[in-house]
């Protein structure tokens, strides 16, 4: 098992031309913790995840995973698993081939067995030899999650991972996330769905206009009143 990794950012800024998508974010996610980030569209949540995944360079501030500054080299990237809006799958390849390809890129000793066990965990092994393009959106999402988890990442970045999943898929994902969390992975979950986020989070943040307007421990949040608090923070009426 790779060493446990903490995600840290200090004053993290990202600009696209003159527009500031991220305006100085500080966060720390320890091994075994899950930070759920809520916020309206355009708040900067996805930009933050892409920075943490090393897919974007910061315009200012610092970000690190396990003490290694981002964007990092292969050794630090080996610890990261990313689920994004997009499936990141090749439609012409089968589910097995897609996950096996990811396993090969992570240098796993037995890519085929690793791929099969990841697909089995997400309940999609029976569709392993079906081309991804003919799978439903929900099944594609499960394969995408299997692809992201095949190497047992120590840092898991999730952007709306429940989108398109049915009850069975959502339960499989929740179980996989709990397993990773209890194994010491650090999770950052971006979602619009307050209930899903609160269910797994150890810390909660609300983003607006590229900044955290709330950043609390989960146990300091009252789930019953959080929806109203959230609407007030992001400026949504009602």
């Amino acid at each position: 098992m790779p060493p446990l990794a903490t995600i840290e950012t200090r004053g993290l800024i990202r600009r696209f031309d003159r527009r500031e998508a991220l305006g100085g974010v500080d966060l720390s996610v320890a091994p075994g913790d899950c930070l759920a980030i809520f916020g309206p569209n355009g708040a900067g949540k996805t930009t933050l995840l892409r920075l943490l995944a090393g897919l974007l360079n910061p315009s200012g501030g610092t970000a690190s995973i396990g003490g290694v500054a981002l964007p990092a080299g292969p050794a630090a990237r080996a610890q990261v698993g990313l689920i994004s809006h997009h499936s990141m799958l090749y439609p012409a390849l089968t589910a097995r081939e897609n996950v096996e390809f990811a396993a090969r890129l992570h240098g796993l000793a037995d890519p085929r067995t690793s791929a099969e066990s990841a697909l089995a965990r997400l309940g999609v092994l029976d569709r392993a030899d079906v081309p991804v393009r003919v799978l439903s959106r929900g099944l594609q999402q499960r394969v995408s999650i299997a692809r992201a988890f095949v190497h047992a990442p120590r840092v898991v970045l999730l952007d709306e991972p429940y989108t398109g999943l049915d009850a069975v898929g959502a339960a499989a994902l929740s179980s996989a996330l709990e397993g990773l969390k209890s194994g010491g992975a650090a999770l950052v979950l971006v979602t619009h769905h307050l209930d899903e986020g609160l269910a797994i989070a150890t810390h909660v943040a609300v983003m607006r206009d590229g900044r955290f307007v709330l950043h609390e421990r989960r146990d300091a949040i009252d789930p019953a009143s959080f929806a109203g608090q959230y609407r007030a923070l992001v400026g949504v009426a009602g």
């Binding site: 098992m1 897919l55 990313l82 090749y90 090969r104 890129l105």
Partner: protein, 230 residues
């Protein structure tokens, strides 16, 4: 703990994936192969055999086809990664960026050589060329050397152009000036081989191709990481 794969292992995994996708869809190969045959046919019907001998025209036709058929495949090389942002999966994987380039370039090389397997016999047939084993082997050698250079430059520019709105226009605009030395050397060498001249003349042009490959394969491999969006 698993170790990230080395450059060669990662490049091979990426090339194998690209070739599997192409074998399944055959989208780019069929387009390029059909283009090759049609282009050879069009050149044939616009050719005046009383003005230019087939032996003089055929090398030019062959390398024009090679250039534009190659561009068809190179265009798809990175654009296929954008459909479901599969490119993000490559970029967060623990592999060196150079491995991504080399994997893509190797798959493109196989693609271009595959198209040439269709294009060369088509041109030989249409222009009634008679090639012995020696000439065939020499043309195969010229093709491999020219393909390596074309693919190295084309793969780099494909990566640069893919995130732009006019990628399909930008790739030829960027790449064609760099293809000129490759196509010139390859065409000149082919003329000498087809005309049955001493091989030493063709070897001189092949040295130009080797030099181009030796310069541009490492240069493009090292330049690729800088093309990735930051």
């Amino acid at each position: 703990m698993s170790e990230p794969p080395g450059v060669i292992a990662a490049a091979w995994a990426i090339a194998r994936k690209d070739l599997t996708v192409e074998l399944r869809t055959r989208a780019a190969f069929l387009s390029a192969a059909v283009f090759s045959v049609l282009a050879a046919a069009i050149f044939l019907y616009t050719w005046d055999p009383t003005a230019v001998a087939s032996i003089d025209l055929a090398p030019g036709v062959l390398w024009v086809i090679f250039t534009f058929a190659g561009l068809l495949g190179l265009n798809r090389s990175f654009s296929a990664e954008l459909a479901d942002r599969a490119i993000d999966g490559l970029l967060i994987a623990p592999v060196r960026r150079e491995a991504v380039f080399l994997g893509k370039a190797f798959a493109n090389l196989i693609f271009v050589l595959g198209v040439q397997v269709v294009a060369i016999p088509t041109v030989v047939l249409f222009y009634n060329l008679s090639l012995g084993w020696g000439a065939s082997a020499a043309i195969a050698g010229i093709t491999v050397l020219a393909s390596v250079g074309l693919v190295a430059v084309g793969t780099l520019f494909s990566a640069m152009a893919v995130n732009t709105r006019l990628a399909e226009l930008l790739l030829p605009v960027l790449a064609l000036p760099f293809f000129v030395p490759v196509v010139t050397a390859a065409a000149q060498a082919t003329v000498l081989v087809i005309n049955g001249r001493p091989l030493s003349g063709a070897v001189d042009w092949m040295r130009v191709l080797v030099a181009f490959d030796l310069v541009f394969v490492p240069a493009c491999t090292m330049a690729y990481p800088f093309t990735i969006e930051s």
